[in-house]
């Protein structure tokens, strides 16, 4: 176990040491203390290491993550795990806006609430939120699954492509072209797996499923003639 004190060393030193692990994985377990809300903590990891962040983190925490498993014992600022490729990121507290934005893969778990635009333009990442999400969540989501154990804010799933959204609580409003869809056995099974992976003790049968109605311009074969 290696412990890095951010108040002493700063984010650049931490991230450089973590990046060095991509070439030679010599230390599996890392602890970061005295975070003081610093931005860019553990960005660009590319090794199968475990990192524990003890305290609140600022913007873009664990951004671009590959392979690593990151746990934050606190809240995180804008863009946690943005553009994540693989691995997992767990937030014990709340996340600010644009959590998991543009993520291609891996699992992001937010045990508390996420603010607006959670999963915006998600491209394959799975996101499980224990609490509520803010407005415009999964906006233009292309692939992946977004699971919300609490309520969803306005315009959920606006201009959605192929993301599947599962919500247990109330949906304030659906965005353009987002509709409720039937929960078939395959969806209950998929949701069960995601909830288990995220460690959420929830009954899949209590959720509703939302997805794209595929009615917007890009989905119309007639528009192919424009090219």
């Amino acid at each position: 176990m290696k412990t890095i004190d951010l108040a002493e060393h700063g984010v650049r030193v931490l991230n450089q040491q973590l990046h060095d692990q991509a070439a030679d994985l010599s230390e599996l377990d890392w602890d970061v203390v005295h975070t003081q809300g610093a931005h860019n903590i553990a960005c660009g990891l590319n090794a199968e290491l475990n990192l524990t962040v003890r305290g609140h983190a600022g913007y873009y925490c664990a951004g671009m993550n590959q392979k690593a498993s990151v746990t934050v014992h606190g809240n995180v600022g804008v863009g946690v795990a943005e553009n994540m490729m693989s691995g997992s990121v767990r937030i014990k507290g709340d996340a600010s806006q644009s959590a998991g934005a543009t993520g291609h893969g891996g699992l992001l778990v937010i045990e508390g609430n996420a603010s607006a635009r959670c999963g915006i333009s998600m491209k394959g990442i799975d996101i499980v939120v224990g609490g509520d999400v803010g407005h415009m969540s999964a906006f233009m989501g292309q692939a992946g699954r977004l699971v919300i154990c609490g309520d969803a804010g306005e315009a959920l799933g606006d201009s959605l492509y192929e993301v599947r959204i599962y919500v247990k609580g109330r949906v304030q409003s659906l965005g353009a072209d987002c509709v409720e869809k039937p929960m078939r056995e395959e969806h209950l099974e998929e949701l069960r797996r995601l909830l288990t992976q995220a460690g959420m003790d929830e009954d899949p049968a209590a959720f509703r499923r939302y997805g794209s109605a595929r009615e917007l311009y890009n989905f119309k074969v007639d528009n192919a003639a424009a090219y």
Partner: protein
């Protein structure tokens, strides 16, 4: 970009430490606003029937003594005062209008930063650290304080463009964002008798609140009306003589984070600015929701039933 911060003490025993607690918050937002900074601090309240003016003049050697002597003669009332760097705080039982009129007519080179029973606004061009040092912020006492660090985008890096702005008694607003309907709204407010010192959009928001509260609306009601009337991007933090409020526009592009303990309520653009506050590890830390008005107000003893 810009950074905004606010600290409202619930525990009055902390009042001697207000400046010491707040200075690191302002300095932490230097990355968001290195061009100019300022703050509105509430404390050192004047007695009933008196008011306090904060005046500023770019020239640090400005003849405040001469100004005060001439003002005392003109309004035939005592004026107590002290200088603080390039600013001066004047306390007087004279009427607000008579002092304003005299200053406009006789000392047009002096800028009125704030008027009220409790408020003092101090601001300057430069790094937040330097400005906090210039005015001795660290040693200041009071009940609450709000501040702004500016990264200039829409107007020059000047004292005139520095925040915060005040347009009414003890009212101050700091703003991260930009308003799109400020021109038309300014015209409407001028017709309603609100006066503006600059062309700045933020000053219009402050003027709007002054106007609404003059109509009898509470701070909360005025801000709720503002959600309909102010168009643009904003996170506002507002101070009044006894109150502290935070509101974000419904789209909520501009960041905000809050923390509350038994001792204080704090607001900042980023959590970094809150990280040094005492007891922050145990504080309730949350992101204020879009289009929700958060208000804290202390009840005055004379208002108690």
């Amino acid at each position: 970009m810009c950074g905004i911060v606010g600290l409202y003490l619930k525990n009055s025993q902390l009042q001697p430490e207000l400046g010491a607690l707040f200075t690191p918050m302002l300095v932490a937002m230097t990355d968001r606003g290195p061009d100019s900074a300022g703050f509105a601090i509430y404390g050192d309240e004047v007695p009933d029937g008196w008011i306090k003016f904060t005046l500023q003049q770019a020239d640090a050697a400005y003849d405040w003594t001469g100004l005060v002597e001439a003002l005392e003669q003109a309004v035939d009332q005592p004026v107590h005062w002290f200088a603080n760097s390039n600013a001066a705080v004047l306390k007087t039982p004279a009427g607000e209008e008579s002092v304003r009129e005299w200053l406009w007519a006789e000392r047009p080179e002096v800028r009125i930063m704030s008027v009220g029973r409790s408020i003092e606004i101090l601001k300057s061009v430069g790094l937040p650290e330097q400005i906090a040092g210039q005015y001795g912020l660290r040693g200041m006492q009071g009940s609450h304080v709000i501040g702004h660090t500016r990264m200039a985008t829409e107007s020059a890096v000047t004292l005139e463009g520095s925040h915060p702005f005040s347009t009414g008694m003890d009212l101050c607003l700091v703003h991260n964002g930009s308003l799109s309907n400020h021109n038309r709204l300014r015209q409407r407010l001028i017709r309603e008798g609100i006066r503006f010192e600059t062309e700045n959009d933020t000053e219009v928001a402050a003027g709007y609140l002054t106007w609404r509260m003059r109509q009898g609306l509470s701070l909360k009601q005025a801000l709720e009306a503002g959600l309909d009337d102010l168009d643009g991007f904003y996170t506002f933090t507002i101070g009044t003589r006894d109150g502290f409020a935070v509101v974000r526009d419904p789209i909520a592009c501009k960041p905000a984070v809050m923390a509350e303990t038994d001792d204080y309520v704090a607001m900042a653009s980023e959590y970094r600015a809150l990280a040094g506050l005492p007891g922050i590890e145990q504080a309730r830390v949350w992101e204020p929701k879009p289009a929700i008005v958060y208000v804290w107000e202390r009840q005055r003893k004379e208002h108690a039933a």
